[in-house]
Amino acid sequence: VREDVRDRELGDLLEGAVGHLEPNPDERLARIRRRGATRRALRWTAIGTTLAMFLGGLGWSAVQFGGGRDRVVVGSLDPSTWTEYHRPVDNWSLRYPSQWNLQPYTLRCFSAGGEGALISNVRHHFEIVGDGCAPWDMRGLPPNLVVVEVGMSGAGPFGPFTSQPDSRFPLSLDDAKRVSDVHGEEPGEPFGAPQPRLYLPVSIQGQDYAVNSWLGRRASRLDREIVRRIVASIRFGRQAQEFPPDDIGPSPGAPPAPYPTGPYGYPAIMVSPPRGPVGTRVHVEGDGFTEPFWSQQSGTGGGYQISLERGLSGDCDRLAFQVGTYTVNANGHLTGDFVVPSTARCPEPDRIVEVVPGKWTIKIACAYCEMGDFEVTKD
């Protein structure tokens, strides 16, 4: 087997078996040339079609994401780059990234009128479909679109709401209801609006408002967190005076000196132990959490508190929500504890999944606040 030697005797025997075969080359040559030429033409046609489709797709993408009017713009979490928008008529305000698009609107549906504003990461002028009661037309917009709408109840497509006691602030997107809109012949995604719609009813002094958020299926984590913070920045009437609108969230990459910065741009935390199996009790601690955001979120029982996430695992972003709590003292010293759970959730479709071994991201206070890592081990 090791020697690569040709067995000539066997070769001669084989040659003797077929040596008399002399096919007539003229018998099939014309057919070979005709069929070969046809296949070559088909091949070049297929190549040309594929190339045309590819170039067409590139052109379409360039229009969608490049220089087109529906271009997605990148926002920042840095509060210093955010702009305040105030509507004196309704006396509400919010803050949003200055790079984003804000579109005030006035709608008239039957005899009821309403005013509001749309904030989006797409430079696009939104129109409603049909009369003043129809939904916003979001057809043809990029899949990473995100939109926040704040408006008086009855302004636009959203139905009348029952008056409730005054809402508590800051608002949280976690409290929003997931609503699936069905319209006409396009169930599930009416007129291009990403589904489900996150609907947050707000009541202030007998007046009902609606905060709607639409997150495209490819919306980035950054944009999702910006939406969360826009919603949290909404103030109505006197609440706008009590809570300074600057406190919309932490500033990544800007912890006060001399505190070290963690891998994700926030103040660094110590994780002890850094790894362990399900059931491990973990202590986190760090300095530099002097921004009001951190202390506002601590001890309230709301928000993310301490959560674990293992993203991009197949189609499932595993999130173990509120696995622990934390506190921040007056000097900005953060301490917290959590226990590694055995289960987590996948949001879409919503289901319970196991906490699998591997590196999990520790989030404190908000969905985008990635503070460090914890490695879940098998034993």
């Binding site: 040709r6 000539r8 066997l10 070769g11 084989l14 078996a17 075969l21 040559l29 030429a37 070559r40």
Partner: protein, 160 residues
Amino acid sequence: VPDGSAFEAFYRQNLTRIVRACALVTLDRTAAEDIAAEAFTRLWARWDLVNGEDHAGGFVFKTAMRLCYREMRRDRRRLAGDLDRADAIDQALARQDILSALAELSLRQRQAVVLRDWAGFETAEVGRLLGMRESTVRVHLARARERLRRELRVEEGSAS
């Protein structure tokens, strides 16, 4: 438009060799001529992409061997060496012991021994043509030779 005269010259020069190789693998002259024609059709369809006769030779041999393999897998009877249904020429071939012995080999063993010992390809080239590792080709080759020698009563050591 590719050079038709160059293709025709190549076709006339290599048709017999391809047909004979396919006949040794399929043990069926009609199937061998059909497969050879299909292999040359595919070569002509890609003639503008192949570089020189070496490339063309490798392409047409490789295509022919793949078509043989597909044809044989499709018609399992030939794997068992069913020569009775062959035409007059095939029957003439079948009278020779070598074809009966070839019919006893597995398809891969048959391809390996035909390409190495009849066509004269190096073992590494046989591996490339059949899409298998060189070590695998050597194993197929050794088993095929051992069986052929036993069936044909050829003495060991006659290799040169």
